[in-house]
Amino acid sequence: LNRNCLDASRPWLCFWILHSLELLQEPIPAAVASDVCQFLARCQSPTGGFAGGPGQHAHLAPTYAAVNALCIIGTDEAYNVIDREKLLDFLWSVKQPDGSFVMHVGGEVDVRSAYCAASVASLTNILTPKLFENTTNWILSCQNWEGGLSGVPGLEAHGGYTFCGTAALVILGKEHMLDLKALLRWVVSRQMRFEGGFQGRCNKLVDGCYSFWQAGLLPLLHRALYKEGESELSQQRWMFEQQALQEYILLCCQNPTGGLLDKPGKSRDFYHTCYCLSGLSIAQHFGNMDNHYEVILGKEENRLAPTHPVYNICPEKVAQALQHFLRMPVPEIHFRSNKRGRSVK
């Protein structure tokens, strides 16, 4: 099985696998954790951020994956891998005047980049309002006539991009600026009435990975609506059919030899394993300020650990990372005049 196509995505492999194991409540042996830390350290670019592999250029997607993986490990060794000052330099180097971010120097813009940047900046406590100046407005311009968000303004609403844009706005505290009602209508409409799983876009096919990208929006919207004073929200359920999603994942998305997948007939991979499990966790666990309510389809052993709907790592790991990095001062940016204003063109 040729995996060369993932040679520029190795931190992703670390995250997909570590997150799957943490959802399955499978402990990570200390030696493995340490090996991952040392590998990710080799993926870190001397100019900041993480690359798809040793010696490659930094890119926001493996940066997101690496920081998440290190936070899952959660040891001091893991946290110490991250060079926060350089990471901030990297984020500035990909920031665009219009508020968007390119995925890497000389690379493409789309809303994933804002999420990756907001995620790592908030977890490692290097976030400043200046860094995300205009980003809110740029993300908002990605909400379209369908109610969901597109990758860049003008395009079709899409589950992956909608998750990224919405979660980024939640991190920035600006989710209320979306048309939440329109977004809610769009995302609930993405659950397939026959299959029970979610599609990525209107009139397309179901895919197990959207169990997270789409269903994961419901906890975010629940909290956003609650903060807007919505009084009629359920106290027990997300606004999607939780049992139906669990049925789709468990009955249709498992490989009998292990691992999860898009839909029957497709082959397993670590990406789908991660996101099917993440979606299963979302479908199993309802939680708000006051209570935690579970719906476990099948045996008790099917229960997964809860996942944080913004970062998609376990909530304890989020809290622990925040606590660790909040003790440190926000770094001063080093090369502002050189690296700012480097445009896509």
Binding site: R3, C5, G154, E156, Q236
Partner: protein, 340 residues
């Protein structure tokens, strides 16, 4: 079989650089000998910042082995400029690569860069049309198409292109999106003649394929800023369709019309209380119908909307339906409640 770089005389001066995975690598990829050979030399070129023809040629091999390696693509672009390479040739190259791997981010971004450098979009619409003929919903293709059209102001024939795609597949949501894109950037949706034409178009498509969510979403999406009840006669036309072309989408649209009407009634001076009560009753009836019969997968949502609407516009005496506060759905799975 091509000779490995390590065996090529003209590369003998360069020391290959093995990948530094460290002593205890994780997520190891089982590279072929060919892969390791090419990338060992790529790393050597990068290390020396070599900007030569042979470096340029090697990038094609590296891309062929992993077209997602954005570091290689970046380097290739540096070389294209440093060596003043023929960009028209590069267009041919990237055309072929995209045809082989149309779902890769890097290849489309590279094409965009070359088009920008050449300032020549003349092949783009035809090329993208060809890619779309193989996969009419390829997100990258649509993204590139919108960029080209907007950048080079190539709006003229796009509505026709969209209509042809919708003729082929009226359920192609990407095409519906493109329709919205073209109109909003040209005539806009303020012109009543345009709106009427679009409503007519939607209703015709709905008559042909009643369970096409895209058409209903487009209808709503186009009108929602002005308010669904702002369009005179629309509600009646939809109610007509309800008899013969009903769908959960039609019902949801009706609900949205009623909700919009309630939104506007309460803002007017003279409020017909009976009229408001009746509109609310109809809206709530649709919520119930959808939640319990016609769109049960979205039960939680429709029940929430019903509660919200009742809370906003109703009062205790209004509803003649018994309503539990937060009805607990019956479910065969185990349930447990814990305080957090």
């Amino acid at each position: 079989c091509v000779t490995k770089y390590i065996n090529r005389k003209e590369w003998a001066d360069l020391e290959p650089v093995p990948q530094d995975d460290g002593p205890n690598p994780v997520v190891k990829i089982a590279y072929s000998e060919k892969f390791s050979d090419v990338y060992d030399y790529f790393r050597a070129l990068l290390k020396n910042d070599e900007k030569t023809e042979r470096a340029f040629a090697l990038t094609a091999d590296a891309i062929d082995l992993n077209a997602a390696n954005y570091t290689v693509w970046h380097y290739r672009r540096v070389l294209l400029q440093a060596l003043s390479k023929d960009l028209k040739e590069e267009m041919k190259y990237i055309t072929n690569i995209i045809e082989e791997q149309p779902k890769n981010y890097q290849v489309w971004h590279h094409r965009r860069m070359v088009v920008e450098w050449l300032n020549d979009p003349s092949e783009e619409l035809r090329f993208i049309a060809d890619i779309l003929s193989q996969d009419a919903k390829n997100y990258h293709a649509w993204q590139h198409r919108q960029w080209v059209i907007q950048e080079y102001k190539l709006w003229d024939n796009e509505l026709e292109f969209v209509e042809n795609l919708l003729e082929e597949d009226v359920r192609n949501n990407s095409a519906w999106n493109q329709r919205h894109f073209v109109i909003s950037h040209t005539t806009g949706f303020s012109d009543p003649a345009v709106v009427e034409r679009e409503i007519q178009y939607c209703l015709n498509q709905i008559r042909k394929a009643p369970h096409n969510e895209s058409a209903w979403n487009y209808l709503k999406g186009m009108l929602q800023d002005r308010g669904l009840s702002s369009q005179p006669g629309l509600l009646e036309r939809v109610l007509e369709l309800k008899e013969t072309h009903c769908s959960p989408y039609l019902l949801a649209f009706l609900f949205d019309c009623y909700e919009d009407a309630l939104e506007n009634i309460t803002q007017k001076e003279k409020v017909e209380e009976e009229e408001q009560k009746e509109t609310l009753r109809k809206a709530l009836e649709i919520c119930r119908l959808l939640a319990q019969e016609k769109d049960t997968i979205r039960k939680e949502y429709w029940e929430f909307l019903g509660r919200s609407l009742r809370n906003k516009y109703g009062n205790g005496a209004l509803s003649d339906e018994p309503m539990a506060e937060n009805p607990e759905p019956s479910i065969s799975a185990s349930q447990s409640q814990e305080a957090s």
